[in-house]
Symmetry: C2
Subunit: 241 residues, 2 copies
Amino acid sequence: MTLNPAIILVQPQLGENIGKTARAMLNFGLTDLRMVSPRDGWPNPSAGPAASGADTVLDQAKVYATVAEAVADCHRVFAATVRDRDMPKPVATPQAAAQIVAEHDASDMNCGFLFGREASGLSNEDVSHADIVLTVPVNPSFGSLNLAQAVILIAYELFNITSTAEPVVPAVREGSASKGESEGLHQHLVDELISRGYFRSEGREATQQRTLRNLILNAGFSSQEVQTLRGVIKSLSRPKC
Amino acid sequence: MTLNPAIILVQPQLGENIGKTARAMLNFGLTDLRMVSPRDGWPNPSAGPAASGADTVLDQAKVYATVAEAVADCHRVFAATVRDRDMPKPVATPQAAAQIVAEHDASDMNCGFLFGREASGLSNEDVSHADIVLTVPVNPSFGSLNLAQAVILIAYELFNITSTAEPVVPAVREGSASKGESEGLHQHLVDELISRGYFRSEGREATQQRTLRNLILNAGFSSQEVQTLRGVIKSLSRPKC
């Protein structure tokens, strides 16, 4: 399953932001870019360079005169806005929105996401075309997402919901050593080895030391184990009795 | 609970990207920005304007000479990289990483995230300081996340995991009308009302029409119901027999 709802930019102002939006979209497999009356017309020469290779999205982009026309084939429309509105619409997070899109996709129904002008966002008139308000939960004292960032968060959630990759979650080990402790062990070991000419092969020293660091980190030693091992190294470094 | 792991930029190149990273962080409440040998020194005059108000993050940012020093107080370190590595490290998605950070936070252990240079990413030497590789699942044929975008995705997941906001998920209604059908009903109704002088109050016409559109959308009519209602309007518009 791949989800590919329409990303609809209402009167976007800068070509650069249109390009960045295309790049954000294609990272997560979205290709249906639509624009309602882009301020500087279309095509826009600033969009291509900002798309960093996502030209296929720009080439397929469609331009409409009104929001109504841009969403005509959609069955469920989301309006991305952080502002409180005097409108009785349900509110969804990006995660919930992705779930809704997936459910509509399963019933062969299209969805669309409206994103507003860079400076002023969506108007009440724009929002009146939507069923659901999409709001990204952000820091209440600093909410400042730009257009491409808002798009990438919904695109990411849409991709996530269809992704089967099972994340590896290593468990927390109680009392595990800090990086400073592990690095101290590593450095202690390396110093002792250097003074004994362990790193003989010219030019391979850095790789050999890195192998030792990985070996120590991957072992996941506790602080106590690191202390033990440093005692061991110290002991090994002394002359035999 | 708020999670605030260290975001560590290894030899970042452009001040603008450092500023954008700070902005991405603060949107989701992250404030612990660290840099390892920023290319153009620190402070960097290009960072502030790009931070769009997230100056508090830049003001508190710490600079280190080496990755080892930057992660010394961390108990679990993630290395953000998309490349396959010849290193035996577990791999986590942003979501899994957020879970791991939350678990460490509950045990009062710090975590850190290493992000590489804009042009070349993290070196094998950098990655050797990490326990876990952080990889964002992306479109296999177009993976092109910039620095601030990679940071914002992990920051978003960290904020999500602590957020208690329950998303509203309206159920799919089978046979629900498309936006084109709903708008057709709305326009039909408005046209008939205009020809009867319904919209009398000067300057309130747009608001009144928007109220009607919201009323129609929020009702969630099926295609069949829209047809029925259009028949009703047509009938009402005829003279009485």
